[in-house]
């Protein structure tokens, strides 16, 4: 699904990622943890294709394609979708409109017809219910005046409608109370399938109590310092990152 090889990236001339290697197979859920400044958000941004991040070395392959050569919109159309930590507000643009445009852009890329409106409404309503969101939400402007929890739920809603092959979730748990966390996790878990992979980038372990990862990677100073199963995440929660730092330095 996703293959990252020796990835180096700089931001404004400073090297942040210093040789990342990561393989995600279909059906797997991976979590990337790490202290502040380790390069988590840089990794997310490089994967999403945000401007201002320069890849100086290494490769990223998504479904056999060179991801770094793909435009932002083409990444999404190929099935890689990013759930943002801070989704931006777009005044005047209704949620339903964004959702439909996004879905139709993907369908067009796959050579499919536009989705008929009744079918689309049925799909969206079903997913809204799943995310415990009111239908009035569709008529609101994208993320405008949304609470932190609503924004995150909206990101997951988009995932449920767009059904990506690879879902990237950047700090999806930040700013969530326990109820919202449960709803969001419920949504993410429903995405789990044999053919779909999920990459969670998170600062805290607690989301992993709700979304159980197959593999956990600890990112320190631009490199994956340690990989393991969810026991690794639990140990990080108890002991922090210092021990990994010391072990890898030793």
């Amino acid at each position: 699904m996703l293959e990252i090889r020796d990835l180096h990236a700089t931001v404004e001339g400073t090297e942040i990622l210093k040789g990342i290697n990561l393989t995600i197979n279909p059906g797997e859920v991976h979590a990337i943890m790490g202290p502040n400044g380790a390069g988590k958000s840089t990794l997310s941004s490089v994967l999403a294709g945000r401007d201002g991040y320069e890849v100086t070395q290494g490769t990223i392959t998504f479904e056999g394609q060179d991801l770094l050569e793909m435009e932002v919109e083409d990444r999404a159309r190929a099935g890689m979708l990013m759930g943002f930590q801070y989704p931006v507000e777009i005044p005047g643009v209704k949620n339903i409109y964004l959702l439909k445009s996004a879905l139709n852009a993907q369908r067009e890329a796959r050579g499919e017809e536009e989705i008929p409106s009744p079918e689309f409404m049925k799909l969206v309503k079903e997913k809204l219910e799943f995310m415990r969101m009111d239908t009035s939400f569709l008529q609101r402007a994208v993320n405008e005046g949304f609470s932190g929890g609503e924004k995150k739920r909206n990101e997951i809603l988009q995932m449920l409608v767009l059904q990506p092959k690879l879902a990237l979730l950047d700090e999806i748990d930040s700013g969530l109370d326990i109820d919202a966390m449960k709803t969001v996790s419920h949504g993410v878990n429903s995405l789990r399938s044999e053919n779909r992979s999920i990459l969670l980038v998170t600062h805290y372990q607690r989301i992993l109590n709700h979304i159980e990862p197959d593999q956990v990677h600890v990112l320190i100073d631009g490199r994956i310092a340690r990989s393991g199963d969810k026991q690794l995440a639990l140990r990080v929660e108890d002991e922090g990152y210092e021990w990994i730092h010391q072990e890898s330095a030793a």
């Binding site: 999403a48 979708l81 989704p87 777009i90 005044p91 005047g92 964004l98 852009a105």
Partner: protein, 480 residues
């Protein structure tokens, strides 16, 4: 021969030329009383109309072109302009669509304009412009039944002189400003609407239908009168880019709303903006004013401005009647080298009058635009309210947006609210949409349309749909 004599001779020949040329279709460049007499004669106007024009001309001669607008253009030589030319003969125009600028046709295509209309818009000689003769007949019958008068201003001067005399110049006086005075002296055509007492006009009136007004865009004069309790919705212009040989346009629009009357005036203006360097674009200097003369009357201006090289335009409302309402909703889009200085004036005179201003400016490319608005509360206008919201959106970093709000508050029992924002089209917003698989161009479109939503929802339905498509075409290639 001395230079002086030569000049006199040239002058004389010119005047003679005019006299002998009375049957011809075009006057030579220049403006004097004889040219005005020629126009009036051509139109078969009564003496009072000619006198009115001449009076306007005399006022114009004492006036100077305004220089306060935030616009930059070379001085206009008013003596180098021809003030009358009969509609073009078919053989002068392109003979088929093959001879028309392919870029223009491409735009028509994108806007979904039918082929026969494309031909008409591009100035191709076609026998039946818009195959709408039957439509025209039907709508004329419907209007006649309701007692609504809808005709060209020239016809109105001939057929309804008492109405025209009562209202022409009563909202925009002849000497109101430089361009209005010029228009009053030399206007060649435009529309006239009269909706009688208690009548709700049974259909939306559109210049689009009144196709005989082709080629009168240069100095257009429009007068709309709504009698007591009458209502009308008027649509001006169309979304297709219109070309015109005349670079200078100076239109005047006057609206009169008597007691409990309601006039909704919607414009989509898309004159040729010139080439990439701004060459050949239309200079559009327009005076539009509505007079809420009666109590509880209402006038609503909605405009979508995307064309012209230069736009100078401030549709305004005189809120004279008590409890009268004025509204102004505007979207102005500039790209390339376009310049627009546009806004509104809300003059509160009656008690408990209300006005709303919503202005959305979008600047892209190397364009420049300004919102200029005046809200005036006279001492008598107690209990009055204004709400102004003006937002600017910048695309790229070579364009400019400016806001010049003026407020004159003459009493302490009125409320004036003003909100303004300027934002750059967010890279973050674009990125967000793109990360959902939406192309950059569609994303810009989506964001801009979202920005303009408050105004578009004021437009009549079919205009709103066209306006959205138009915005997309206008801003094409403005990002990246």
């Amino acid at each position: 021969m001395a230079t002086e004599e030569m000049e006199q001779l040239v002058q004389r020949e010119y005047k003679q030329g005019f006299v002998t040329d009375i049957e011809s279709d075009t006057v030579p460049p220049g403006l004097d009383e004889s040219v005005i007499a020629f126009i009036s004669h051509k139109k078969g106007e009564p003496q009072w109309m000619l006198d009115w024009r001449l009076e306007a001309f005399h006022q114009w001669q004492t006036m100077k072109a305004p220089s306060w607008a935030h616009l930059d253009y070379p001085p206009i030589d008013y003596q180098a302009i021809s003030y009358y030319s009969a509609p073009k003969k078919p053989e002068d125009g392109p003979q088929s669509l093959d001879e028309v600028d392919p870029k223009l046709l491409e735009t028509y295509e994108k806007l979904g304009i039918p082929l026969h209309e494309q031909a008409a818009l591009a100035g191709v000689a076609v026998d039946a412009v818009f195959d709408s003769v039957s439509v025209t007949t039907t709508f004329k019958e419907t209007l006649a039944e309701a007692g609504v008068i809808f005709c060209s201003i020239s016809e109105a001067i001939r057929d309804y002189p008492e109405l025209v005399q009562a209202y022409l110049g009563s909202v925009v006086p002849r000497g109101d400003n430089f361009f209005a005075a010029l228009n009053s002296a030399v206007f060649t055509d435009g529309s006239f609407v009269y909706v009688p007492e208690g009548v709700e006009c049974p259909m939306e009136l559109s210049t689009y239908f009144r196709i005989n007004a082709a080629n009168t865009g240069q100095f257009e004069r429009t007068l709309i009168v709504c009698d007591k309790r009458a209502q009308v919705s008027y649509l001006e212009g169309c979304t297709a880019p219109q070309r015109d040989e005349n670079q200078l346009h100076a239109a005047v629009v006057e609206l009169v709303a008597l007691e409990d009357a309601y006039i909704k005036y919607s414009t989509v203006q898309n004159w040729y903006p010139g080439d990439e360097d701004g060459k050949g674009g239309i200079y559009n200097f327009v005076t539009k004013r509505g007079d809420c003369r009666g109590d509880r009357s209402k006038i609503c201006w909605t405009q979508v401005e995307t064309g012209s090289a230069i736009t100078w335009k401030y549709p305004s409302c005189m809120l004279r009647g008590n409890d009268s309402v004025g509204e102004f909703y505007s979207v102005a889009v500039t790209n390339g080298r376009q310049q627009a200085d546009t806004g509104t004036k809300m003059i509160h005179i009656g008690k408990n009058t209300r006005s709303t201003i919503v202005s959305k400016g979008i600047a892209a490319g190397r364009s420049n635009q300004s919102y200029r608005g005046l809200v005036k509360m006279t001492p008598r206008a107690t209990g009055s309210r204004n709400f102004t919201q003006c937002d600017s959106l910048l695309i790229g970093d070579q364009c400019g947006a400016h806001t010049f709000p003026y407020q004159e508050i003459g009493n302490s029992k009125s409320t004036v609210e003003h909100e303004a924002t300027t934002s750059k089209i967010g890279d973050d917003q674009l990125f967000y949409c793109q990360s959902r698989g939406i192309s950059e161009e569609d994303a810009v479109n989506m964001i801009v349309n979202g920005f303009c939503k408050d105004v578009f929802q004021e437009l009549p339905m079919e205009f709103a749909v066209e306006a959205e498509a138009l915005l997309g075409v206008t801003l094409e290639g403005s990002v990246g």
